[in-house]
Symmetry: C2
């Protein structure tokens, strides 16, 4: 049996303990945080600690036609790191070194298993700044961030993970090790393989080292927390802020369903009560931060804000950010389970999106709370449902599909930052069309002709 041979070769190529076949241990690493689709049954879990070992794994898998599923912290929300039948799960978590932080070139060279917050702290100690901040930053890894082109609250000012990936060392499907690009700020000698690998969810290559761009440390974070009688009012204030010169570093919305869910989930949270929408608008400007805050407050007042609180004290700010981070757990706690959507539209279409989400939710049998990165037009409608109630499970699935369709109808995307994984494959024809999907598959084939890299995902 091929599986036996593959395992023997893996054990010969890797250190003792780096090949795990215990079914419980493998099962524990078979699903990411999306949780909806049932994963496949993997052959083994491997824990390489060097690029050479990743290369050896790929060569073995390539020779035998065995699928490889690259994995980080399993915090993904689309099933992108889920096991597929017969696959080798390749955990990059043991490759967690920060190789180098260079203050002159303003880059960090890191292995894929570095936890995002650990990198952020390490560069901050050098007076530098790594902006991407996905909600799971305390546990997710840079490799996973690269695989999904992860976003976060600071994207509205700084951009997404791709904007900070300067060069990658990757292992190709046949085990060859290449660098995608010189580590210079600008380079147009080659096609943009770096940007292509970012966001490819492990379907094109396995990232074994990344050179990441850094910025000088920002100023102190401060801002405004404003509430509104309608979501439309909050959106109008947000548009006014984005149209002005005071570009916020964070511009987040929480609707009334989410606000109620957070207050129930954490009674100590000090969110303003009774509002239909909350805006959190922050700046981290080195200079002119007070002018930014004043501009945000003015924009809120001019759009009939119910309350406008200055969030300039660190304690108040931490409390607000903690409440914002409780968004998804609070929605999940509401009925016991949740589906986390991740749609994005041009900002001008947000009012229509929000209105039609409310219409979808009304009478559906499930609860939909919406919040997220409205400065980027990227919101997370979260569908809360009781997993023990078949009617609610079915309703959640129905609303899930309706939300995907709605995003496409409004000229948007079904995923701004979470990825396609397995959960959103159904939506790709509507979003990309058959010609682009076919082109993507041919690009996949150029990288991975025998289709062993994370098959069944993304494309």
């Amino acid at each position: 049996m091929a599986g036996v041979q593959v395992l023997a070769q893996l054990r010969a190529a890797l250190p003792a303990g780096a090949v795990v076949t215990d079914p419980a241990a493998v099962l524990a690493r078979s699903s990411d945080a999306a949780g909806a689709a049932a994963p496949g049954v993997a052959l083994a879990l491997v824990l390489p600690s060097t690029t050479a070992q990743v290369s050896a794994i790929a060569r073995i898998a390539h020779a035998h036609g065995v699928p490889l599923v690259p994995q980080g912290a399993l915090s993904g929300l689309a099933g992108g790191a889920n096991a597929v039948d017969g696959a080798i799960l390749v955990s990059l978590e043991a490759m967690a070194a920060i190789v180098r932080i260079d203050a002159v070139d303003q880059v960090a060279v890191v292995q894929p298993g570095v936890v995002t917050d650990d990198l952020a702290r390490a560069v901050a100690e050098r007076g530098l700044f790594y902006p991407p901040d996905p909600a799971s930053s305390s546990r997710c890894t840079i490799g996973g961030n690269i695989a999904t082109n992860a976003g976060g609250m600071r994207c509205v000012k700084y951009g997404v993970t791709r904007d900070f990936v300067r060069s990658l060392e990757v292992v190709l499907a046949d085990g060859q090790i290449v660098r995608t690009r010189p580590p210079t700020v600008k380079a147009v000698g080659g096609l943009d393989l770096t940007g292509l690998v970012v966001g490819s969810e492990g379907t094109l290559a396995i990232v074994t080292e990344a050179t990441l761009a850094l910025l000088p440390a920002p100023g102190p974070t401060q801002g405004v927390c404003a509430t509104f009688a309608t979501v439309a009012g909050a959106l109008a204030a947000a548009n006014a802020i984005m149209a002005g010169p005071h570009r916020p570093s964070t511009l987040e919305l929480l609707d009334s369903v989410v606000l109620a869910a957070i207050s129930a989930y954490d009674p100590t949270s000090t969110l303003p009560a009774g509002a239909h929408a909350l805006l959190l608008v922050l700046t981290d400007a080195r200079e002119g931060g007070s002018a930014d805050v004043a501009a945000y407050a003015r924009a809120a007042h001019e759009r009939a804000a119910l309350t406008v609180d200055l969030a300039t004290e660190p304690d108040r700010l931490d409390a607000l950010l903690a409440a914002r981070r409780a968004f998804q757990p609070a929605m999940q706690a509401l009925r016991g389970a949740s589906l986390n959507e991740d749609v994005a539209v041009p900002r001008s279409r947000l009012p229509e999106l929000i209105e039609r989400l409310a219409a979808l939710a009304a009478g559906s049998g499930v609860t939909v709370g919406t919040g997220g990165h409205i400065g980027d037009g990227n919101v997370h409608p979260v569908i809360a449902f009781d997993p023990a109630d078949p009617a609610q499970v079915a309703a959640a699935q129905r609303v899930h599909r309706q939300i995907l369709d709605l995003a496409a109808e409004l000229g948007g995307t079904v995923t701004g930052e979470h990825g396609i994984g397995v959960e959103k494959l159904v939506a790709l024809d509507a979003e990309l069309g058959p010609t682009v999907r076919d082109l993507q598959r041919r690009i996949k084939q150029a990288f991975d002709p025998t289709a062993i890299l994370n098959p069944g995902k993304k494309l």
Copy 2:
């Protein structure tokens, strides 16, 4: 003969006058501004005015296996838009509409033939800002900027053309029309086809419409012009500025050869005399601009600047920028011809690059002047030579190759913003290696299986 059929079909598909076969007119559109390599002899020049016409051209070319060479303003510096034998030159200059400027979504939708400065002016009138500013911005087109991933002086703060291309409408080699991506700020549903097409120099697809990201208008430009006794001193000041919180919007170097050439080319230029290096450091901050300027002046003084002039008055600033823009024409005027290099290295390697460039030039028989975007580690060594002197022509070619090799040796790139075209194909093995080159060719094949799009370029 196939050519006759192709021309007949093109004439049937396009409006009267849009198919040009007059040899002089075709020859006039057969070379870009690189000027070194002799172009091929094209079959015809076509001037489509709609995406449907571009699609029809591609279908005809695809059916007959005729090469297509997409062209903008022919201001490129690598031969990327040069004619190849038997090709149809596809000028996109007639597709020059600014379709839409949207202040809420902060995007501009444009056709490829729009001149960069025309777009910049149009969005400025709406209080918005399109940052990419290649030196040829008064005549180059957005389509050409996208093809080369053009840079410019403001990249050090804002990034390159790719960072502002949100979505593209492209015509594929077989004539199919697709959009690469929804026009949302964030979208991870597909592979990054947008970034892949940007910088591909017309080898993957023909861009027929671009949705470009805009920013709110910046503040007034102001800064510092400082001179130094050594290039090393100027580089040290530049590194100090980049390491600090006062990120400049422009950080340019001119060495003594360039300074002398500019003073000879334009005696009215008011550059400080007698210096070995000049730094131009500008800010366009809305708030804190004065603090930025003070920080730049301080950094220059601390690195023993000979002179530090504040450039805060518009007239003085315009004069300095005009002198900087005279860099390449002045070097060309020095001996009658020039080769414009475009190397980039990590900023920490700049001192070694500059030192070894000087060593290469010494006794070579040609003159090398270096300047450019040192905030990005991207400099333009310009080789000035007498085109009537065979010894100098040979020396220029020799130094050209040595500079390409040097960039690769220092872990850099042979092209930060100009592209590969035909002039730098020789350097690709050293920079990318055979595995990446092969991977690029397979990606090309995924887009263009019959290899009709700009063959012989880039890859």
